[in-house]
Symmetry: C2
Subunit: 123 residues, 2 copies
Amino acid sequence: MTPSARGDLFDPACPTRRLLDRIGTKWTSMTVKILAEAAPDEVRFANLRRRIPGVSQKMLSVTLQSLVRDGLVTRRVEDTVPPRVHYRLTALGTSLESALAVLRTWAEEHMAEVDEANQKSER
Amino acid sequence: MTPSARGDLFDPACPTRRLLDRIGTKWTSMTVKILAEAAPDEVRFANLRRRIPGVSQKMLSVTLQSLVRDGLVTRRVEDTVPPRVHYRLTALGTSLESALAVLRTWAEEHMAEVDEANQKSER
DNA sequence: CGGAATCCCAATCGATACTG
DNA sequence: CAGTATCGATTGGGATTCCG
């Protein structure tokens, strides 16, 4: 875990890589997107799960915990039985969504070209 | 190959995830950034390696191959002994860099807040 | 010089089962 | 309902060695 080696002097200075480590995990960008679409409303766990095709209960839980720890999402528990848990983007999370939207646009406009390049390489 | 497998019906429609799978790999964004700064000039392998602290020979090689396959980077070999290999961003790669720059700006402006949120959670 | 091949470890992720 | 715990398969990526 901790790079005990003192050789690692440059890494901590690169915020971009650390950001990509977070939003690059499989379900993060989709989760942020859905929360952004709902904002400023909250979204319940089960609702979120339904809207993210293929996500497992565990991975959604892990993803949300990570987003909460990073200050991008708030978590609110209704103390009922059974409990209801509501998630919502913070202001910080909303600002990240704006940046992510740019990436999404690029992907929608250009990933076809990337695929085309790959097909040409395969032969 | 077509994944005619039944379960996989939703994935191909999500270009954003596929993009993040690529640029999310450890050395890709740094590589693109350096090539973008040098553009329209080419950059040699060893030069690139020097400018990316911590990257191994293998990982830089793998990263570049991937970028070339995706049509984001060109590779030019000077047929000398020893050979010289030059890399440069394509137009597609340059357009991706523009999108990445937005993410970089967000990271530089806001990752400190993310770190702060993490420290509060730790206690 | 710029790789390719191999080995190996660590992290990611999915499936399943259990809990308050 | 919304998690937590555990296991195993897969993948990313580092170190090392060899090659044209």
